[in-house]
């Protein structure tokens, strides 16, 4: 390893450590849900290791919980993770033509909102993949071990504690969507309409599974917002 790459690895590790610790908590919250739909600690560990995506994993748990067809989990995972298409595309622009191709695969393996954020924020025209690898050193085990621990915790906690922990993930989702909803009117409107339609859909179409409901409403609401209020600036890059 060149000294430049080692330096990048260390910097990634340094910047990734708080992210990895945070991921342990996210993973733990996911584990509580995972256990409720029947995953073993090993299954939770593997799912989290390979996915590293809170919305995507939660979406998968919803499908597993409703025992829906395999096609539905594919579509659900696709919709819940669609934003990574954009991040992965942006990252593809940051690769120097000199960087070997296989680095694109390894960097792609762990595209998360936070790792994407720090990788883009790091100065320089080209991305050094070793910076991402350094961040992955804590992010991957934090997330996957957290999930396994969340599943195991079920055996030790009382129903009251499990009930309380069950909302941790929703709290995190709220922390992600509410601040931009406050700042950007369109997002605020989209979030409010999403709450309302999701509620009405569950009430009046209880036969539609939670997974399909999410897919249909996401395409409808986000599609309508994209057509009515296209984003022209560069803020979503």
């Amino acid at each position: 390893m060149t000294s430049e790459n080692r330096q990048a690895l260390m910097e990634g590790f340094r910047d990734g450590t708080p992210i990895g610790l945070g991921y342990f908590v996210v993973g733990f919250s996911l584990g509580i849900v995972a256990k409720a739909v029947g995953l073993s600690p090993l299954q939770g560990f593997i799912l989290s290791l390979l996915n590293n995506a809170s919305a995507g994993e939660y979406a998968a748990f919803m499908v597993i919980g409703s025992d829906a067809p395999y096609l539905e989990i594919a579509m659900m995972t696709f919709v819940a993770n669609a934003r990574y298409v954009l991040m992965s595309t942006v990252l593809s622009q940051k690769f120097s033509p000199d960087t070997p191709f296989y680095h694109r695969i390894f960097v792609g393996f762990d595209v998360t909102d936070e790792i994407f954020g720090i990788a883009i924020a790091r100065s320089g025209r080209w991305l050094n993949p070793f910076y991402n690898y350094g961040a992955m050193l804590t992010a991957l085990p934090g997330w996957s071990l957290g999930t396994a621990c969340g599943i195991i915790a079920w055996y030790f906690f009382s129903p009251a504690v499990v009930s309380a922990l069950s909302v941790a993930l929703y709290g995190m989702f709220l922390a992600v969507i509410i601040p931009p909803a406050r700042k950007e009117k369109i997002i605020g409107g989209a979030v409010a309409i999403s709450f309302l339609l999701s509620f009405l859909a569950e009430k009046f179409f209880p036969d539609i599974s939670a997974g399909n409901r999410t897919i249909i409403l996401t395409i409808l609401i986000a599609g309508a917002a994209a057509i009515l209020f296209p984003v022209h600036d560069e803020e979503n890059k």
Partner: protein, 101 residues
Amino acid sequence: MTHDINIYILVASAVTLAIKILPLTLIRGEIKNVTIRSFLHYVPYVTLAVMTFPAIIDATQSQISGGLALIAGIIAAWFGASLFKVALLCCSVVFVTELFI
């Protein structure tokens, strides 16, 4: 349960990894289409909102505690509380509420 959890995990992981890896390896140009860019911009907020409500009020032992957690979480996030503070607050609200129900 008629489906195998391991196959669910396999399918979900394959889709996630394809989404994350394929653009990086296949796309060299930038996505220019404004509608697609805008759609991808709005998708995460809409998906998370749809998945949060009404699921949060069904996740707890009582709908009242879940509902109060939702309201507390929205207020805390509105005033800029961090991810973990919001999560912790929601859990605490449920725990305390259910002591009295």
